[in-house]
Symmetry: C2
Subunit: 426 residues, 2 copies
């Protein structure tokens, strides 16, 4: 099926978004594409040229080359040790909370230096073989320009003879180990061509996505302003995508209902932005999409979620700094440039929003964040905001703004908020 | 915000898809668009003309006119009774399982004729007023070409004075009553402009969607063959969409992972079909989208789900005949023309698929379907299939086909199955 006519890579622009970046981006916008983008094939602000399309393919090819090289190096080490008569081993980062730190400078939870060494012995022979087979599957996927979900990988193993997985938990653990192993070399699971089973969120607004076809290498140009009331659905893996945008910021929205309102009324046109629907805690591909897009276009990300401990500490915190439980992937998935537009506890008062009382689980979550979460402990304004919320004893949904009219959010709330991005919570 | 420059309606073509329709559609396809579509603006098989675009707008306008007329008639009745000094009432269909029958002829669970009468008395004055306000909100939404989610409606009520809802359960109940009331006149909740908060599924393949802009009335042309590895994300409401397609069938897929495989390798091109990702039990808008598309294009729907009681009796059964609990909406949302491609219990044997043992909940679900579900009780082949599954004591996921190679599903399984659509389970 998958003829190998193209390969993929990722482009990562230096981080450059700052809280005040919206204004700067506006200036760039006025400057026009040509001025803003001296190297059209590199900058997502210029219009994609023919050379640009070729560059998309070349970059993907190069990135895949790096992945293959890293797999080969790891396998060669094992092979060399065996030839020398030495027991081969794999050094896997320890994936536990004890090996996680919050990096203030980078702005996310980082995995530490602890390693567990998987040496080839009589007892570990099966897990060792499975790790090598999993790496080998990844190599094959990159070479044939294909991909596999966790489930696919598990079922593939049914042809691995004695290295076959007995159940999917086993298989997932080995995949997580391999992911952690290669994350040290800044290679993500998606670059290893293992993709999530779940879909990404929906996107609409001032954005062109370039997506090279798996089989033919032809690059599809997807204009996210042209979806009517529908939207662009993010694929499982976004590593191979390139972007072109003149948007000033990305608005990451918690609920499908709010996204639909902003999309149907084309809020992105009036605000010059890109809308992303997270539908609760964003999936891997949604987070990675936002991160890559924000990095490449150097535009900030504003989160618009419910004002409750779940919206703040689960959705927003996960989007921005990732999670401690999966610290080895945060370097790819977190969006440290994200800022919190609202709904803030102060908004509840300022906009006289209808509220619900905080549930027990809300109170527990907020107190836990204040006491144990390095992110909230690091940011004084967040401590104040959470304490304010606990004191008020209520929560408010983003759709509560509908009290003032269905489109109050478009006509009043968001424009007013966007005039003061510096006041956004960190 | 929402200037009123256009209105919407729904086009419903007569049901015409039969199990063997794929062959017929293939012939129409060869015949070319012009021949197949004598009236280009009516048939989704012809290419959309300028007149066609105008017809899309006109149809939407007409449908909205009908909705407004029905709201007015209902309100007028109440008004007239008040003027006559008679206590006004609203006759709402009883929404309970005792008022549900399985219509063999129509192929779905239908709501019966039992009505609960809400007469205006001292005790019912608040609920009565709320029902009228909810209808009034709907009228306003149609007139301003806008929409509201359940939550939006709840928060809007905060400005209804004494008719304000105290919590959302109250508000949802009144909305469900209004939905049931108007369903008698074949008007769906979406036509009343109350839309779900959740997103629709993802779509890719041989399909053009026409979507008139809410504010300008300009019709967007969305080509679902042009999304690369991404997809078209179905909006919350699909009543206003029109379609153009030469596809032979719609393939409704359970998992995001399988959808991604078929989409990335452009299976729709080779098979001449439209792929829809359901991601589990399909949402309202996904079901309505499939139904409207299948009706309009007169093409069959094939379901491709896991072989377990959940995939069969929850996902497939809900897609095809709807649910008893919400029988008043099945006329809009069920897809009676759907058929079950697989994975079937027989496939587990034929394709030697890796399996998992049935869990207790699986066994319970299957036994319950055999004993109590009118749909399964009506279809002998389904009884045999469920009994076979229970006897085998195992279940298989659709991704289990990956045992034979990641793209075995594209190269072998689906082509082989599609040669024998008559053998699909009903």
């Amino acid at each position: 099926m998958a003829k190998r006519t193209t390969k993929r890579t990722t482009k990562r622009a230096p981080k450059g978004s700052t809280p005040g970046a919206a204004g700067g981006a506006a200036k760039r916008r006025e400057g026009g594409a040509a001025q803003a983008a001296p190297a059209a094939e590199e900058s997502p602000r210029g219009r994609m040229t023919k050379q640009g399309l070729q560059a998309v393919r070349d970059r993907n090819l190069k990135r895949d080359g790096e992945t293959l090289k890293q797999i080969r190096t790891t396998a060669d080490d094992v092979h060399r040790n065996i030839l020398k008569g030495v027991k081969p081993d794999l050094r896997l980062p320890v994936r536990s909370l004890s090996n996680v730190t919050y990096s203030q400078q980078r702005g996310y939870f980082e995995i530490g230096r602890q390693k567990k060494v998987r040496t080839l012995t009589v007892n570990t022979v099966k897990a060792f073989a499975q790790s090598l087979r999993m790496m080998s599957l990844s190599k094959e996927l990159v070479e044939t320009n294909d991909f596999a979900t966790k489930r696919d990988a598990y079922y593939q193993s049914k042809n691995w003879g004695e290295a076959m997985f007995q159940d999917q938990v086993e298989s997932d653990t080995v995949m997580d180990d391999i992911e952690a192993l290669f994350s040290i070399h800044s290679i993500s699971r998606e670059q290893l061509r293992f993709v999530p089973d779940e879909h990404g969120g929906a996107v609409a607004g001032e954005l062109i996505v370039y997506d090279p076809d798996l089989d033919t290498g032809e690059v599809e140009r997807i204009d996210c302003t042209r979806f009517g009331s529908g939207a662009y659905s993010i694929p499982s893996s976004v590593e191979h995508l390139s972007f072109e945008t003149r948007a000033r910021f990305i608005l990451a929205i918690e609920t499908g209902g709010m996204f639909q309102r902003l999309q149907s009324h084309k809020f992105w046109k009036q605000a010059g932005c890109i809308l992303v629907s997270m539908s609760g805690v964003p999936t891997r591909s949604t987070r990675r999409f936002i991160r890559r897009l924000s990095d490449a276009a150097k535009i900030p990300v504003y989160a618009f979620v419910d004002c409750d401990p779940y919206g703040i500490s689960n959705i927003y915190r996960t989007l921005k700094v990732g999670s401690g439980n999966a610290a080895h992937i945060n370097q790819f998935f977190c969006v440290p440039q994200a800022r919190f537009l609202g709904v803030t506890p102060q908004d509840i008062t300022d906009y006289k929003l209808p509220t619900h009382p905080l549930k027990e689980v809300d109170v527990k979550r907020a107190k836990d964040a204040l006491k144990n979460d390095p992110f909230f402990r690091h940011h004084r304004p967040w401590q104040k905001a959470l304490q304010q919320l606990l004191k008020m004893g209520v929560r408010a949904e983003q759709q509560a703004l509908a009290k003032w009219g269905l489109n109050y959010v478009i006509e009043e709330y968001l424009p007013r908020k966007l005039k003061e991005v510096k006041a956004f919570l960190p």
